[in-house]
Amino acid sequence: SFLALATTPVMALADESVKNDFPAWSTTLGKGLNEYGQPSKFEAGTKRGIAKAYGDLAPGTGSARTPIEKLEGIITPSGLHFDRSHNGTPEIDPSKHQLSIYGLVDKPLNFSVENLLRYPMISRTYFVECAGNSAANIIAPQPIQATAGTLHGLISCSDWTGIPLSVLLKEAGVNPAGKWIVAEGADAAGMSRSFPMEKAMDNAMIALYQNGERVRPEQGYPMRLLLPGWEGNMNVKWLRSLKVTAGPTHTKDETSKYTDPLPNGKARQFTFELGVKSIITKPSGMMKLPSKGLYEISGIAWSGAGKVARVELSTNGGKDWFDAELDGPSQAFCLVRFRAPWTWNGEPAFLQSRAIDEHGNVQPTRAAYKANNAVDGRYHNNTIVTWAVLADGSVQNAYL
């Protein structure tokens, strides 16, 4: 029979096959074709870091942070896009969801998701950063030893496609008195934020696609608001309504939180634009350089004001600075990857990056932030991050 033949050696001569020189995956059938791919099981450690703000009492309140130290390039895979939610991710049936535009408009309008998908679109690569990103590095009196993602991972970047908000607003017809909009989400928290009409007409987008496919549930499926360069919380996810108003609504998250208290007891409200910022991701906290020699310093930079113009690096804690190479085009409101070769001589070093944007904004020092904000100020921390390399090669979070 066929089977009997197949297991009987056919050749008399004791010659060899090459099989023993190869691993099993080169000599046995691979996995079959599949409809939706996943990362290798050997990369299971590349995952979002979960920080529940109130433990299991509120399983959907807190953040899932992007492991930026494990990633390269500028696109965040959608499964690893950071998630900051206030009462979990709603599982929205798109056929039962709509976007309502009302308030100070001529024609209040409802848009079904199906109809919105027929609108002319734009694609833009934009970062989203939580205004609370890097808060621990400002609040904690001593530097917390953790990964770059744990400390600074509330930043992600995607190729977003959607409808310019101006198109929908023009269809509804904004009254001259309509100077602000309050956007609301369909989540259990009913997340709501106010933003000025000027931003709406300039570059706000109703995003329906994220990195090619429809926006992911944790990022606002079936649609989210995008206000390029402005604090993450305003980019309302699961967007259900836009109400045109004369002034800001003073919602909880533009009152209790996301305001910036000053040392004199006053607080800045409606601080929207994110500062120019950069993070060295390699090497970074909790890593260990295995030996002296050549390394590439690599990281991400961005600015809420537009394009990053330059990123400077220091390996001696800010005494000397040199320019990093920007890898790829610097786009407005988008991450840019920076790189520079660095030879580690085995001695302690302090690695810092300092981004400068097209408007000349420069990353401030931690000391400058502390001097200008209340003792508990924590939002919009775009200060220079320091990674200390110890003599044994271990990399630590440091304040300088």
């Binding site: 009462n87 309502s100 535009i101 009302y102 024609k107 309008l109 409802n110 848009f111 109809n115 027929r118 609108y119 002319p120 734009i122 833009r124 409808i163 310019p164 198109v167 929908l168 269809e171 509804a172 609301e184 259990a188 928290a189 009913g190 709501s192 300039d202 570059n203 390029p228 259900r240 309504s241 109400k243 002034g247 800001p248 609504t249 003073h250 919602t251 909880k252 009152t255 209790s256 305001t259 910036d260 208290p261 004199n264 007891g265 006053k266 607080a267 800045r268 409200q269 409606f270 601080t271 929207f272 634009e273 004001a305 904004n361 401030p364 400058a368 932030y369 200008n372 209340a374 003792v375």
Partner: protein, 162 residues
Amino acid sequence: TSTVKQSPHLGQAMTASDIKKVDISIGPDGVGLPVGSGNAKTGLKVYEAQCLSCHGAKGQGKPVDALVGGIGSLSSDKPVRTVGSFWPHASTLFDYTRRAMPLQSPKSLTNNEVYAVSAYILFLNGIISEDYELNQGNLAQVKMPNRDGMIDFSKEKSVVYK
């Protein structure tokens, strides 16, 4: 970065009743507040049934945010920011409680319950009296301690440090 795009005009007209169902946001001037009322006494009952397990007895906090305290602390070196000490407008308390609380059953409180529990929280903060009847007409007039504590930064392009 603006892009000129034509619209296929697929929006469907909303009726006044459609809008009424969608619109739950309340401006600082009280516009949007529903008919209804409540005071701290009834509010105490709502609070104990619906809020205490998370926000603690008398809004003292634990396990989650305190809703009481900190008035006068904002310029100190230990500022305590709560509804009482930090929120400029009472409208925010009504709006947020109605849409988002209690956490496990948001939007379940009736309008009167929201007025009442809001009154209770304002009372705990010493802002209104225990029998003050909070309603559609007077909620926005409540003088919050930090009413003038916010600097409108919406016209600034970026936070700059000296």
